[in-house]
């Protein structure tokens, strides 16, 4: 395993751009431009300058000194965004302590003795709210480059250890330094409701929900105590610094798991209770959730690993209608959500290779999803959900020079990526991996709603 990673890393390195000469001025001329924010420009030019889109339009001029790409036969899209990812994070699980704040305990490392079972909420098992993906992302991580193969320039990457995994970051998939990759260091707090793996509390779904509730109560209490102490240090005892609660208090939004309507109702209610905005992840039954999502204004990240019939199965055991319907309708989720005007993005969670996300969406397109809606979910909608749409997600003057340039169309049967640009830097896609090591398979475990965490 280790050896294979090593080899792959070498392979990946081979496609890192020639650092010696990175042009600061590039023009892609006479290409088809899918701006996403506006109409498609059938023949036009995009100018990139110092990592920013300097100009775009049918008659945008190619500035003097620009490196020119002949865009004939090419289509330029905004760089694709994986809206719920672990790309950029080291693949070995991040070792963070199993408990935070008061009663913090040593982490459970395989082979070592397990931590004493937690006695209750005061132990805060699995709360890693101080962990920042932005601190952990590495530009050398192999999946950063592999992601280019699917046309991805950006991932919203979350640390996923524990019930509260930590703060995600909007990460550009390329950069001279790891820090240079970070577009937005706080994209939201990752939360999971799957409790298994702990010796003690909480070990049930309802335990987890009660646990979250108490965590927020404690955080708000901590905030109040700090404020009162600041006002009156003589009479109010000084509250002990608590990184877990600090991490909760700094939360912009929380990412909560919801496969279908049942979990959605639960999570939207929880979000209201915690008085924080919610993004739902791991959504697989989006086709049944449109009205309610629209009503509550909750954005979602769709899981586009469409369910299929299990190959190794008892032929005499016929699936229930619910399962059959789910398999039949799952790929219509983007159609239904787009029609209802629900804000949704997509994630490659559980897929073998990054570009499988495009194949998955192609299936929805074949079933009636407007191509524009598919592209929007991959770009601008994701940017909007995480509040970075002023800077990325479409091909507009002034936005980040994140582009994917494709021969033909993004949803062609065989995707041929000519090049991608991350922060104006050109990258070539990696060759198809020999097996299926890309995406989220392996490494930082794929995370679906019902899967075991930590």
């Amino acid at each position: 395993m280790r050896q294979r990673i090593f080899v792959l890393t070498l392979l990946a390195c081979a496609f890192i751009p020639l650092q010696a000469e990175v042009p600061s001025l590039v023009a892609i001329q006479d290409a088809r431009i899918v701006t996403v924010s506006g109409a498609v420009i059938e023949k036009g030019t995009v100018v990139l300058k110092d990592g920013i889109i300097a100009d775009v339009g049918p008659s945008a001029a190619v500035p003097a000194g620009a490196w020119v790409v002949d865009g004939k036969g090419l289509t330029v899209y905004p760089g694709l965004i994986d809206a719920f990812s672990t790309w950029g994070l080291p693949e070995a699980p991040v070792q963070v302590s199993a408990a935070g704040g008061r009663g913090a305990q040593a982490s459970a490392t395989p082979g070592q003795t397990a931590p004493p079972r937690s006695r209750g909420p005061e132990d805060r098992p699995g709360t890693n709210s101080w962990v920042m993906a932005a601190d952990l992302v590495k530009n050398t991580e192999r999946r950063v480059t592999l992601a280019h193969g699917g046309g991805f320039t950006t991932a919203v990457t979350f640390p996923r250890q524990g019930l509260v995994g930590g703060h995600g970051a909007v990460v550009n998939l390329g950069g001279e330094t790891s820090g240079a990759m970070i577009v937005e260091p706080d994209a939201g707090l990752y939360m999971s409701t799957t409790p298994s793996g702990y010796l003690g509390y909480p070990n049930s779904l309802m335990g987890v929900l009660a646990y979250f509730r108490q965590l927020w109560i404690d955080a708000n209490y901590y905030k109040m105590a700090k404020e009162m102490y600041a006002k009156s240090p003589q009479t109010i005892p000084r509250p002990a610094y608590d990184r877990a609660l600090e991490g909760v208090l700094s939360t912009k939004r929380v990412l909560l798991p919801a496969a279908g309507p049942v979990q959605m109702e639960r999570m939207v209610k929880l979000g209201k209770e915690l008085q924080t905005s919610v993004v739902l992840w791991g959504v697989t039954e989006g086709y049944r959730m449109a009205d309610e999502l629209k009503k509550s204004g909750t954005p979602v990240v769709l899981n586009v690993k469409w369910p299929t019939r299990e190959r190794d199965r008892d032929p005499d055991l016929i699936d229930t209608m619910k399962v059959l319907e789910h398999r039949d309708k799952a790929p219509t989720a983007p159609i239904v959500l787009a029609k209802a005007g629900v804000k949704f993005a997509v994630s490659s969670d559980g897929l073998d290779a990054p570009k499988d996300i495009l194949k998955a969406l192609k299936k929805s397109i074949d079933m009636g999803l407007p191509k524009e809606a598919a592209i929007r979910a991959l770009t601008l909608s994701a940017a909007e959900i995480y509040g970075v749409d002023q800077r990325m997600g479409s091909i507009d003057k002034g936005k980040m020079a994140n582009l994917v340039v494709v021969k033909g169309d993004l949803f062609d049967e065989r995707l041929t990526i000519a090049m991608i640009f991350v922060d104006g830097v050109k990258y070539l896609p990696p060759p198809d991996p020999p097996q299926t090591p890309g995406g989220n398979a392996g490494g930082n475990r794929p995370s679906t709603v019902d899967q075991e965490e930590n």
Binding site: D312, D319, D450
Partner: protein, 438 residues
Amino acid sequence: MRSRGLLGIILAASVYAGANDTMLIRNATVHPVSGPKQENVSVLVVDGKIAEVGAKIATKGKIKIVEGKGLHVYPGMIDSGSPVGMSEISSVRETTDTGELGDFNPQLRALIAVNPESEHIPVVRANGITSVMVLPGSMGGRGGGGGSIISGQVSMIHLDGWTWEEMEIKRDAALQLVWPAIASRGRGATDDDLPPALAARRMTFAQAKRNQEEEVRKLKEFVEAARRYQKAKAGKEPGLKPDLKFEAMLPVLDGKRPIMVLASREREIREAVDWAERERLKIVLANVREPGKMTEELARKKIPVILGSPFTTPIDDDAAYDEPFTLAALLNKAGVKIAFASFGTQFARNLPYEAGQSVAFGLPYDEALKSVTLNAAEIWGVADQYGSIEPGKWADLVVTDGDLLEVKTNVKMMFIKGAPVDLESKHTKLYKKYLARP
């Protein structure tokens, strides 16, 4: 009965009148099961056997009279499969004697492990159940086996007696076999429905199928070996060493003794039926739950079916809410002979309600009554002596104040081989004791 002349009755009465043990239950509503119910008739019991049923039974001399006015008389009910007497507290292994180790145990006899002092026995009989087929093995079930393939000999017992010998009706009434099932997963379950740890441990279908095929292969091999033994014995092969397991198989191989095969789903039922046919065995299917397309075949081949309790949840979310309640009616309509079993101890006394519930959901009433009496006696080969109220049969009788299958009905009296049976139990004793607590 009615066709018999008055002379016959008088003759009979005069013959029996002087006997030591003569009893007349008079003026009751009698449900013979073998025929239509008769109101305001009497049952004459002589030496433990039913001598006569009729409106006018002349008697003289000393005779025990049981007033049956307003009461109903039924044959005692037969539970076609239960560990009653062999298991006391189901969750405590030490109190349970079913489920021996080893794959093939035809030599084991349930009868000898029946505890006559089990508190379950009086509790169960108080609801009108006089006989039970006591099972030596576990139930197998839809998820697949566990335990033996051949569990041992099922014994038919009376729920009364000082010793198991006295309780015995037929010690080797049948051989219990749990047909190996493919145990990959439950119906309708997806990985998402299972806890991750369980999902990971779940066998693939291919694996489960291989395991099942291996089990079936072992079974066939065992039966083949028994056949060789049978031949060797018939041919008086010199030097043949006696083998208890094979000896126990002989009456089954001869097709004389029924083999009770627990097979719940269509696939297992088909395999079991095909196998039994090839081996020319007398098969009785038990714990049938999803017979599917095999239903017609069971009827055609006259293979009887022992049904477990309908008080269970439907097989999956798509099944009708009343699916378990309608199974008996479905089989009956197709022409399959059915009998009910409790397949357990704590609810064994609810046997009549298993039949009653099936009536509410389409099983003709008369068939329901048969399914807990005469059908069972026929299936287990004791119909010449039990199962209905007919002259010549043992007087296993239940006297009630209402419909036998109705939950509200009280059993007022019970007779086993004509002798009155105590209806008190641990339950009635504790009831009286604490009702009287000051």
